[in-house]
Each structure stands twice: as C-alpha cells, then as structure tokens.
C-alpha cells in the first residue's frame, strides 16, 4: 500500500512536501539543450542555430545556493527559463525532487509552479505598471485557487517579511517605488506561492551597491526562514561569492567548471574561470593589472569553435583542444570540483595535464610563468 502523498500546496513545518528525502537533489539537470533557430541569408531562407544552451548537466542540492556565473551571452538567462519551464527545451531532462515534470511523470507543471519560482531582474517591466504591488503579489495565489481576500493577506504578510510595511506600500504602484523596493516586491511575488526553490536571474544586478547589500541579506534571511534552495545567476563575481555555497561557471552555452565556492575562488581549474577571477579589480592600489587577463569577445554562439569552445582565447590551447571537446567529468557530492578542460584529464594528451595551475592571484600572467 503506497503511503498517501502529501499535497504540495501547504507548508506545515518540517516540510512534508519533501518527497525525495534529504539526499535527493532538489533539481537534476541532464544534457539540457536549447538551440534557437534564426533565419539568415538571402530572403531569410537559411536557418541557423544559436546554441544558447548546449548539453548542460548539473545538480542542485537541497538547501544550498548554487551560483551561476558567466559573461553576457553565455546562456545563463536561457538556462534560467529552461529550468522554469518557461521555454520548451530541445532535449535533456529536468528532474525535480526525484520526479519528472509533465504528463506521464511525477508532478504536473502546475504543481511545479508551486515549488519553483523565479525572481527577475529589476527592470521597468518586471511588475505590471497598472496593478498595485499587493495585487501583483496576490495574483499567483489567486490563480491557484485562493480567494481574493486570502490572497491579498498572503501578499501583505510577504510584504512585511521583505521589509516593506504593507499599510504603506501595499497599494502603491511600481512607478512609485525605488529600485530596491521593487526588487523586494519581486522577491515577495516569487515567494507568494510558497516555493521550495527560487531561481534568481540577475536579481541584484540593477541595484546600487548599498541596496544590493540589503537585498542580498534579505535573501539570506528568507532562505533560512523559508527553508529555500537558491539558484543565483549573476555576472558579478563578488556577489556570487558572497551568497553561494557552490558555483557553476558557464561559457558559451556550456558548463566549464563547477565546485564549492571557496575552491572555485581560490583554486580555479579552468583557464576561463581563472581569467574571470583575475579580471576582478583589487581594492589594493598596489595591485594593479597592466594587461587584461581576458581579451576579445566571446565567439559567435551560432558557430562555436570546434572542440573546446574557449580555445580561441585560452593561453594554454593546443591541438588536442581543437580536436576533442573536453568532458566535465562525473559529479559525486557537494565537494566535487570539476572543470571541463583537457588539462584536467590525464588521458587527453595535453602537455600540461597533471600540473595544477598555481593558486589564483590577480597577476594572472605571473601564474602562467610556472
């Protein structure tokens, strides 16, 4: 006799919505692919593919914050929308708490929405300009069957939780709020459905630094309070370091490195990660960078380089890098640190395998002298 499955729309303490158990990852991403078709050429006839997300696999553990970093155009936002099932994927699987999503699988899309929500970047269009913010927040619960009054009360409670007094801010319109306040409303809206996991897509990128700090602390508080799991997407390395437990680095639609945050930031394995970290400016005026660690623009995602995609900008590139695509490796637990680089793979034939790159310092060029 199978035990009755708990309903997913209530959250009593202890989180009986948890179906998979403590060890089960909250989200397993396997071989995710999304190619966008665009037309080009004469009379818009030729069909080209923008390989926005190309064979991405990773795991999000329960209760952690996974940071995803990368430059513009590496596919972070597309990945976010794929995880949220906002755009259909071309291939690959997404397994939430041990179950697939959709017909014939464990949970329906609608149920998924109650478990996984997204916080958008604060732009002028992240909130409906015609609705007072409490109505924007209450929309989600009301769509899932809560009566108006109850939905509004949920909204007001959440406003209080994110630090905005509901009497003062509830009936305000988005254009009457500052950037930081709007972002808090965005967070409240995402929490209105009591999700277990939040995807934050550049959630603090548009804010001033001081406000950013406040919102980040709010996010940390809410994570403890609501027992949440975060996927935090950003291009700001410092922010990701502050808030993440593990970090995933993306380049041109692929995962190039993944590991615990201290490992990534202190001993990055992939040349791209090293270059990214080296391009951070130090607060110490004595540590100046004279040559940029990373030059040029990322290549075109329509026609990425063969083999390793980073080889065109990598100071360690060799023939094997053009011939074979490096594999990320198998992931075992939360302390696993993997990099998709031939230098990590003893069997690749790269001349530098086995030699760990020196500890990361801002003077990137000095490290390569070894």
């Amino acid at each position: 006799m199978t035990p009755k499955r708990p309903k997913l729309d209530t959250v009593p303490p202890g989180d009986p919505r948890d179906r998979g158990g403590k060890v089960q990852p909250m989200l397993i991403v396997n071989g995710l692919k999304k190619h966008f078709r665009i037309r080009g050429g004469f009379l818009n006839r030729k069909v080209l593919h923008v390989r926005a997300v190309d064979d991405v696999s990773f795991v999000v553990l329960k209760g952690e914050t996974l940071g995803i970093v990368g430059e513009s155009g590496c596919g972070k936002s597309t990945l976010a929308r794929l995880l949220m099932h906002l755009i259909p994927r071309d291939s690959g699987e997404l397994i939430f708490d041990g179950e697939g999503v959709g017909e014939g699988h464990g949970i329906t899309l609608r149920e998924l929405r109650r478990n996984m929500q997204m916080v958008f970047q604060d732009s002028y269009s992240s909130l409906n300009p015609r609705l007072p913010v409490q109505d924007s927040i209450a929309y989600g619960p009301s769509v899932h069957g809560k009566p108006r009054a109850e939905a509004r009360q949920i909204a007001r409670d959440l406003l209080a939780k994110v630090g905005l007094k509901p009497e003062l801010f509830g009936s305000r319109y988005p254009h009457e709020l500052s950037g930081g306040q709007k972002q808090r409303v965005n967070v409240a809206r995402a929490l209105a459905l009591s999700p277990r996991m939040l995807i934050l897509d550049e959630a603090v990128s548009a804010l001033d630094k001081s406000i950013e700090a406040q919102v980040l602390n709010l996010l940390r508080y809410l994570k403890r309070h609501f027992n949440l799991t975060y996927v935090f997407i950003s291009h700001d390395l410092n922010v990701v370091q502050y808030i993440s437990d593990r970090v995933l680095v993306m380049y041109l639609g692929q995962v190039v490195e993944i590991g615990p945050v201290e490992e990534i930031y202190r001993r990055p394995k992939h040349p791209y990660t090293r270059a990214l970290l080296a391009s951070r400016l130090s607060m110490n005026p004595d540590e100046r960078i004279d040559d940029p660690p990373l030059t040029g623009d990322p290549p075109n995602p329509i026609n990425p380089p063969s083999g390793c995609r980073f080889r065109t900008r990598c100071p360690f590139a060799e023939d094997v890098c053009a011939a074979k695509e490096p594999a990320l490796g198998t992931w075992s637990d939360r302390s696993t640190h993997l990099a998709a680089c031939h230098m990590e793979d003893e069997t690749s034939g790269h001349s530098r395998t086995g030699r760990a790159l020196a500890e990361c310092k801002p003077a990137f060029l000095a490290a390569t002298a070894s």
Partner: protein
C-alpha cells in the same frame, strides 16, 4: 578574496519613512491632470453641448427642420426669426443644423466603437498568439491598409449604392485595420515584458494572463487612438454624405447640407458655409479632447 564586507550588518527593514507622494489610484491621477487642462475641459464642454443638443433636438429646434417654404428660400443670417437663415428650400438652418448633429455624431461614433471592439479583439488575438495566426491576420489588414481611407470608404459605400447603413459599414471597415494594428503592436510589446513571464511562471492559464495583465496595458493606447479616430470619422462621414453616399434627402445631415447648398454660394455665401462650420467645430473638439486625454493618460513617471 574580497576586502569589503558586504553589509552583514545592514538593517533588514529600512522602509518606514512616510511616502513622499500621496498614494493615488491610476484614474485619480488621470483625473487630476485633466483638471488643469483648460483647453480640453473647454472643448469637452463643447462636445457635451453638441451631444445634448442632438439628443434634445425636438425640444430645442425652433422650427420643423423639414418644413419647406418657397417664400423664404436662402434668406440670410438673422432674417426675422430664422436665426441662421434658411436653405435653398426655405428650411430653417438652425433647426436643420441641430438635427443634423444627430446624424453626424451617429456616423462619427458608431463606426469607431464597433471598429475598436472588432479590430481591437483581432489585434489582441494576433498579438498574443503570434505565429501563423498573426501573419494571416496582419497581412490581411495590410491589404486594406494599402487603400487610402477616403478611397476605401468611397469605394465600399459607392459600389454598394450609398445609404446610411452602407456608409456605417464602410467606415467601420476603414477603421478596423489601424485599430487592429495598434492593438497587435501593443499586445506584442506587452507579451514580452517580464511581468507577463512572471505571470506565466506562476502557472496562470492563458486567458487569465490576457485579462489581468495584458488587456489593461493594451487598452490605453487603443483607447487613445480610437478617440483620435472619432474626429476623422465625423469628417469622413460628412464627406460621404457630401458625395451623396450617406443619408437620403431630406434627412438633415451636415455633409448633405453642404452639398445641396453648394449651388447657392453665389447667393447666400455665409449661410452655405454654416454646415461646414458645424463639422469643423465638432471635429476640432473631439480632436483636442482626445489629445488632452492622451497627455493625461500617459502615466510614465
């Protein structure tokens, strides 16, 4: 690696300052802006006057608009009790003008209202569904766009033989394409905004998203454009009547009056110009009020 502590001590709640502006609803803001727009208010009053005159025509008009009199043909302004003179059949101009307002307002408002409902719905459907449905609807609309509106109105009502209902049909068909296009553009823009994505992410069904999030933001540009079309419709409708494609005589209608009085401009020029003046004032009023409404409704602080 970082030397800066990222505000671990930053307070969690900091927004307990009083709001700088009084919290006001959207329509209240619009109303407040309009309150100080004297031009719009004045011409809105003019419109109300015209509408009232049209509604209460039987009570206001001094004479029977259809009563002809061979003796008093084409009398000038102020002749005895004919405040605005008489037309070529001896009928009182003032009464005919007042009654004519009914026709003009009808032909001005009805096509726009119907076209807004039909064209707007088509546009929202095309904008929201996208893909082949969008292509089909918008290409068809483009074909009608390829006709100048005067030409199209004349063509449709001319081939159908004129008359009021054909005129209304023709005008409605002329106005559906631009309204459809406006609605489609607005819907496509709104559809791609983040809050619509957020609404989808919360698992709402499509119809709910359209009603609660898309429509509210689409109605405003459509409504503003429609209100600017009213004056065009009045002009076009009177133009159709002028060409004999509108109502049948002896129904009083400003455009028709202008046409029949044209022969008499050598005799009583000022009387003959009156119907046109009425058209002008009505059209101008609607134009200015719709402009004022557009400025007031453009809430984008």
């Amino acid at each position: 690696m970082t030397d800066v502590t990222l505000g671990q001590n930053a307070p969690l709640v900091f927004d307990d300052d009083a709001p700088a502006i009084k919290v006001r609803g959207y329509w209240a803001t619009v109303g407040n802006r309009l309150r100080y727009d004297y031009v719009s208010l004045f011409f809105a009053a003019v419109i109300i006057l015209i509408v009232l005159a049209a509604i209460f025509a039987p009570l206001i008009a001094p004479f029977d608009p259809n009563k002809t009199s061979m003796a008093f043909r084409l009398k000038p302004i102020g002749f005895r009790s004919f405040l605005l003179g008489t037309d070529e059949l001896g009928r009182d101009m003032l009464s005919r003008l007042i009654y004519g307002g009914r026709m003009s307002l009808l032909m001005g408002l009805v096509p726009v209202v119907i076209a807004t409902a039909l064209g707007g719905t088509l546009g929202v459907i095309a904008g929201f569904l996208g893909g082949p449905v969008n292509m089909l609807i918008m290409r068809t609309v483009d074909i009608f766009y390829a006709f100048p509106s005067v030409l199209l109105a004349v063509a449709i009502s001319g081939t159908m033989g004129g008359g009021m209902s054909n005129g209304l049909l023709a005008l409605t068909l002329v106005f559906i394409p631009p309204l459809c296009r406006i609605a489609e553009t607005a819907t496509t823009q709104v559809r791609n905004l983040d809050f619509v994505e957020a609404a989808r992410a919360s698992g709402a069904p499509t119809w709910s998203i359209i009603i609660h999030h898309v429509l509210g933001n689409v109605i405003s540009p459509v409504f503003i454009y429609a209100s600017s079309l009213i004056s065009v419709s009045i002009l076009l409708a009177a133009g159709l009547s002028f060409l004999g494609l509108g109502v049948e005589p002896p129904t009083p209608d400003w455009g028709l009056m202008l046409s029949t009085l044209r022969q008499a401009i050598y005799v009583q020029p000022y009387v003959c110009a009156l119907p046109g003046l009425a058209i002008f004032i009505t059209s101008l009023s609607f134009n200015l009020v719709s402009d004022g409404l557009r400025h007031a409704m453009d809430v984008r602080i």
